[in-house]
């Protein structure tokens, strides 16, 4: 077994990995950025090293620095977690090149599966059904048009080296193809450094089902059942469950076998996931891609199989072989996970980083909580907004669902707006309960606007403490002074944002504005609509005027915050628009979320 591992990640997954290391007696070394100094994963680790400034590119994605820390800390292995560098073949190769163990597959496997076209080839040779599409990258509009004629519309333009929904465009008719190609290429180049795209048929109302595989690289390849991750918003998963519900047994068996076949054929090692689209109306399934890492949703599989995936990743990395075979894997009950993010579903899932006050985690039987923070910790603006996951297990799906609903009800994270209330609502939808939902349900049917927005806890009067300070934070400092070490409890103030609340009416935690994070335009004040130069279906570029408002004898131009298509105009000339009212609905802005996971 390895004796020391560097956890090249942050947040809840770093905490999860560090705990696994501790369970195995492995020295866990954390790394952190300046924004994460004192974060929970830093506090839990046996040692922690500063990588650099807050932006991920200068810290968690800084390969040279991470390798230098590996040397300084003298670790034997590196676990990349998910997101960040986990599917970066160059990083994996650099780790191996430095004589260290990379906890994951071979760098070459990562590179091959990371190339969507190569991955499709591999699936094809394993006789896994593929969506009709281009057999390789399309390099010109005429070529794309030829392929598009063959596979038909709607289709999707995808980045060969993309992931997490970035560099992806749905094209519903031929005239949209050129722009979708350009956008996807542009986005993919910006995000992944490679602009190649390919085409695939788009299946509306499909479900996302995936199979967890585990391989020891020495011949042992098994699957650990399937998961359904159809509750998504803009290709970002929100709720995941295991096993995938309401799947015909034939399809389920076939999916699982296909996943094992593929893993075996590429010589896979470690934990991996093969993703499929399931057209539930026709019970067809298609290969989507293979993720060569641990998934955010690995916990639900652990709950229903009792297999600790992280522990096995570490064991396999150390050269151990699987000590059980497929027959010993049984799926027991059902587990559902809700991803808790510091996002405001009522403002276009806008991230709202800040300091969490008295975090209240639900307690109860059959729950599993993976969190990267404790009360009083910060959620920095620099990284993914997800700061924890709540999972519930039940004898059957309905029991698990009810437990998760109740857990989400008990969850409180004062100081930030979280996805918990919205996801609780999703779990109560009849389409979800009866498994009629699909990957578009969040956007088409489960609009947050239809749900009453809960009051942010910090908006409510603080709990009376009988003390002059409304809300008190506490930390310990240890001072090495000329007269020995002093331990002092330092109390601070939380949520004291008199100035900002008075000035903006909004809690301080939400003041951060990132131009990339803008939601759809709204009326900035009570005003009258004087002109609407766009109509539904129009394509608009960033900066184009959408609506002209007049207030206090002043004209206000409301412009498009990103290149998009006007889906709907929600106001008409002469109408009064209240402050905060939505004016037009724009097609999705993909590619701006910086998500380490999928």
């Amino acid at each position: 077994m390895l004796t020391s591992v560097l956890v090249a990640n942050r947040g809840e997954i770093a905490v999860r990995l560090i705990r696994a290391c501790k369970g195995l007696g492995i020295r866990a070394v954390a790394v952190y950025s300046e924004a994460d100094a004192g974060a929970l994963h830093v506090r839990l680790a046996d040692e922690a090293y500063l990588l650099g400034p807050a932006p991920a590119a200068q810290s968690y994605l800084n390969v040279d620095r991470i390798l230098a820390v590996c040397r300084d800390a003298g670790v034997e292995g590196v676990h990349p977690g998910y997101g960040l560098l986990s599917e970066n073949a160059d990083f994996a190769a650099a780790v191996v090149g430095a004589g260290l163990v990379f906890v994951g597959p071979e760098p070459d496997t990562i590179a091959r599966m990371g190339d969507k076209v190569v991955a499709r080839e591999a699936a094809k040779s394993c006789e896994i059904p593929l969506l009709p599409g281009s057999d390789g990258p399309v390099d010109s509009l005429p070529a794309a048009e030829r392929v598009a004629e063959e596979i038909g519309y709607p289709l999707v333009v995808k980045a060969c080296f993309g992931g997490g929904g970035r560099g992806m465009r749905v094209v519903r008719e031929a005239r949209q193809l050129r722009e979708a190609l350009e956008q996807a290429e542009r986005e993919s180049s910006a995000a992944f450094g490679r602009g190649e795209v390919y085409l695939e048929r788009y299946v509306p109302q499909a479900r996302h089902v995936e199979v967890q595989v585990l391989a020891d690289g020495q011949g042992g390849v098994i699957h650990l059942g399937d998961r359904d991750c159809s509750v998504q918003r803009r290709h970002q998963k929100l709720v995941e469950e295991a096993p995938a519900p309401a799947l015909p047994e034939g399809v389920r068996r076939s999916l699982r076998e296909a996943a094992v076949r593929l893993a075996r054929s590429v010589g896979y090692r470690s934990a991996g996931t093969v993703e499929f689209l399931v057209d539930s109306r026709e019970n067809h399934y298609y290969f989507l891609e293979m993720n060569t890492r641990l998934q955010v949703e690995h916990g639900v599989t652990e709950l229903v199989t009792g297999v600790d995936l992280v522990e096995w990743q570490l064991k396999i990395a150390a050269g151990e072989v699987l000590d059980f075979d497929q027959d010993r894997v049984t799926i027991r009950g059902h587990a559902i996970q809700a991803r808790i993010g510091a996002e405001d579903p009522w403002e276009g899932f806008r991230p709202c980083p800040g300091r969490i006050g008295a975090l209240k985690l639900p307690l109860g039987p059959w729950l599993r909580l993976d969190f990267g923070v404790e009360g009083g910790d910060d959620i920095p603006a620099f990284y993914d907004a997800m700061f924890g996951k709540i999972q519930a297990w039940g004898q059957n799906r309905e029991a698990a669902r009810q437990r998760l609903v109740s857990a989400l009800h008990d969850f409180e994270a004062p100081g930030v707006q979280s996805t918990a209330p919205y996801l609780r609502h999703v779990l109560e939808q009849s389409d979800f309960i009866e498994v009629r939902h699909h990957t578009g349900s969040v956007e088409s049917s489960w609009q947050p606007e239809d749900i009453e927005r809960p009051v942010m806890v910090s908006d409510a009067p603080p709990m009376p403490t009988g003390k002059p300070e409304d809300s008190i934070s506490e930390r310990r400092v240890s001072l090495s002074t000329s007269r020995g070490t002093l331990d002092i409890a330092v109390y601070g103030r939380i949520g004291h944002s008199r100035a900002s609340e008075a000035a903006t009416g909004a809690p301080a935690a939400k003041r951060q504005s990132d131009p990339e994070r803008q939601a759809e335009p709204v009326a900035p004040m009570d005003s009258t609509v004087v002109k609407v130069p766009v109509a539904a279906g129009d394509r608009v570029s960033k900066g184009d005027t959408l609506v002209i408002l007049e207030a206090m004898k002043m004209e206000l131009q409301i412009t498009a915050p990103w290149d998009s298509v006007v889906e709907d105009v929600l106001v008409e000339v002469g109408q009064t628009a209240r402050r905060g009212a939505r004016l037009v609905s724009l097609s999705g802005k993909e590619g701006n979320e910086v998500k380490p996971g999928s």
């Binding site: 002059p468 001072l479 409890a489 330092v490 601070g492 939380i494």
Partner: protein, 522 residues
Amino acid sequence: MDDDTPKNQLTMQSLIAELGRRQARAREMGGVDGLKRHRESGRLPVRERISLLLDNDESWFEIGALGLPELRTSRHVPGDAVVTGFGKVDGRRVGVIGIDSSVVAGTTAPTSMRKQGRLIEHAQKHGFPLVMLCDADGGRIPDVMGWRFSHLPLDFKSFLKPTDGGPLIPRAAAVLGPSYGDSALHASTAHFVVMVKNASLALVGPSVIESATGEQLTDAELGGADQALAIGNAHMAVAGEDDAMDAIAAFLSYFPANAGLPAPAAPSRNPAVSPEELENIVPLGAKAGYDMYRVIEAIADEASVFPWADDWGPALLTCFARIEGNPVGIVANQPMVLAGALDAHALTKEHDFVDLCDSFNIPIVFLHDVPGLMVGTEAEKTGILKAYEKLALRISEAAVPKVGVVLRKAYGGGHFAMGGRPTHPDFLFAWPSAEMGFMAPETGVQTVYRRRLEKVAKEQGDEAAEKLAAELFDEWVTESEPWEAAAHLALDDVIAPADTRRVIAASLDIAWGEHPVRVARR
């Protein structure tokens, strides 16, 4: 602006791009080489120091970043070698002045002075603490030469106190490198100065001294931590810069944002040492020493004791602490040093501490175990007479609640210097082990009855004189016991040691009464 962009082709985009370029350049500090040298000297760049100090970078709001020297040379001096702005420390807003010694050694010049002055005015006007990160080598030459010196934009009036009659604000300084001249003056205005061990703090640096007086000194010999602590120029020395920032955060946690607000309460915590232990910690008998911090640990909340200037006049302890969650300033004798006898350094320190507590609504607790004031030529040379009188007046005038407890000895001027009855304590208590009077019995009998005892020895023999001395001694001791003091209401009560924490907490609560703020505008 790029030179090849004609002015008539300016666009908002080009101007915004220019802004971005200038803002980035304003944050270069000493540049690659300057920062490398700076780091190699074991110091952090000023912007990293600020990050270390603040809760998070999002709270940082900088002003004056585009400041540049009045006297320009080819040398780029970003922000004129000082960074000024606002941020949060444990949720508390602070104004921050950070000297950038990675460029031109952090020396001051008119622009940097204006920036600092403006920041200080903001903090004072808007009523929040000021944190100064000091690390600089005096004024910049030639920027402050000749007529420029007398014309410097330095205003002592607005520099040291709010000019609008507003409340005082707490000031904390970290001395993080060689700090001379302006930087040292800044630190000397602070209510709390923490320095890292290898920093130094003095009026001027060794190079100036050598040319002025010929004395050759290293930084450490001149103003190293030992020197600075012994004279009270600094109040604490710590191992590293991160400790220094934590020390500032801890210091500020006892203070209101300004003198117009009550000091911040925290949840009550049990003491680290059980109050029941007090009766075992303090030995009977005037000659046995003990560590007064052990007593404080059994009275104050656990992990709340924050020493202030331990090495300056160390026969007296001054520290901040919390009792049942409420901040207090504790003044206590340290029997381990000079048996607790007070010298001029200790009295001056106490004066400053009492002034600090009284300025910021922090009540004062006096723990007496004092044999008296230091006497002798050395004591007189260091000005003990004036130091004593000045202190006694300051305690008397302090408007915050004042509570005294006599643990053991409380003799003479030492007793008054510890907030004895003539200095108007709100409450004065004693343990049954207390001894009080103008002088300790042994010396007292020999001083007061010397002639009488000599006469008896001469007329009736030594044995009779010894018998009389013993009688007089017993009488003296009896009169020194707390019972008579309580009988004559010099004491409000005699209490069991184990009750000390409870009695102090209750007394302070009563003494606050219904006036949560006690700041006299001075």
